[in-house]
Symmetry: C2
Subunit: 272 residues, 2 copies
């Protein structure tokens, strides 16, 4: 999927919402447990209910791996079910030496038909570039994550001017341009978006941490938006577990609609 295609979807739907499919078997409403593949059935109904209000879906692979090879099948079926007009992100946080990253790339881009994969930067350039050899496929590199542990290494000062995550951004942004590379920047760090936009004005940012983790959608939209919107804001638990009853899909639709309407306002206000 190209940058322009993503932007077109955002304009059409007036939304830059990504729904995180972090599906836990134990949290799926009871009436679905008799289905042959409850995880897939849950995802399918969530996708059907939320498709009008979001532009991307992001299954986190951990939730599927926890169920073994059966979970892996549910993940594959889920990615196949999502229509191709959506940006499909495998939130896998992979990264390994070159020949190994190459295999991960094939697993997620060819086997799974994902458009993008999240990658951890610690192992450097040759762990990331194998993911960049696939046309219209994307790397989403971890820069500044939304969790408390981001303070352990990511915000370590290298000089009085630069923290580690800023070096990660400035070094890696030479490996690929904004048509293949995005960054994860947590919504809980909204004050950082202004500065990050100076380093990378053009790149899309994938923003977790709105919803359950408490990030500020208004603020990050104000500071983070660029002329292509440049933001994909993820919500997982606040959407997919909006209700644990038979109305789970209706409530998920309501929650995504609420976020979409808020996003429409910010697009009106901040899109350059």
């Amino acid at each position: 999927m190209t940058k322009e295609e993503i932007f077109n979807q955002i304009k059409q739907k007036q939304s830059y919402l990504c729904v995180g499919l972090d599906t836990v078997l134990q949290k799926i409403p009871r009436h679905l447990h008799s289905e042959k593949d409850p995880v897939f059935e849950f995802n399918k109904q969530i996708i059907d209910a939320t498709a009008d209000f979001c532009v991307a879906y992001k299954p986190n692979t951990a939730f599927y791996e926890a169920l073994g090879s059966k979970g892996w099948e549910s993940l594959q079926k889920t990615l196949e079910y999502i229509p191709d007009t959506f940006f499909k992100i495998a939130d896998a946080k992979r990264g390994d030496i070159g020949n190994t990253s190459q295999l991960y790339a094939r697993a997620f881009f060819e086997q799974m038909q994902a458009d993008a994969i999240t990658v951890a930067p610690y192992m450097g350039k040759d762990s990331v570039t194998p993911f960049l050899g696939f046309p219209d496929k994307w790397v989403i590199l971890l820069a500044l994550t939304s969790n408390p542990g981001s303070a352990d290494f990511q915000t370590t000062a290298l000089t009085s001017e630069e923290m580690l995550f800023e070096k990660v951004i400035s070094v890696s942004s030479k490996w690929a341009d904004a048509s293949q590379l995005m960054y994860v920047v947590g919504a809980t760090k909204a004050e950082q978006f202004k500065h990050i936009r100076k380093l990378i004005p053009e790149h899309f940012l994938l923003v977790p941490g709105v919803g359950t983790q408490g990030g500020d959608l208004a603020l990050l939209s104000q500071f983070g938006m660029n002329k292509y919107c440049g933001l994909l804001v993820n919500a997982s638990r606040s959407v997919i577990y909006a209700s644990n009853g038979k109305d789970f899909a209706v409530q998920a639709a309501n929650e995504t609609k609420r976020m979409q309407e808020e996003m429409a306002k910010y697009l009106e206000k901040y899109l350059v």
Copy 2:
């Protein structure tokens, strides 16, 4: 598996070799392709042939994920096949926010019955600690990897005294002691082992990069060994692809025997 149990195996076998099961379908000898599960059959024969000369096995999960849910099954069967006297490492390089890391931990420690998992440090403490809640299970944290990209961020100077990987070691070594935490330190950085041993005299180091990647076994053994040996040296491609003919298992045995005999000498010489 406890530290003492690992050390006992090392003494018994006079070996600190770990065999990396990085099995690529295309590289498996032809005569195995008619098997129902060629990947598992290959691993099984490699394990049978090398078991006398090594103390650990390390499948890298990428090689199995590349084959989809079928590969995931081959991985599970392989881990089940390895006898419990061996230290079983899932080389997964995972790491995510707390609730997600928890799921990866369950996938690898409970579903897969691995003894250890490799974890990337970039997301900090709360991405690592969920893996530490399982008795006699281990985290092996990436510190200084064997690939060229390790120079991009890992060896970045934080002060005139400290590089990033050293901060990763000194900070994370407070999260767990040497009975639960190991570090990945690449063999291609043998000159660093002396210094690393000052930071963490007690911890085991998992050392990739001997064999195909060219690390120096003599030097790293001299600088890296401690009173529990403290080293698990991995060889993957140089062992499992020692031959691509019908004699692949025999040649794998020869290569591991050669390494074991070299290791026996270093244990004699350097074990404190």
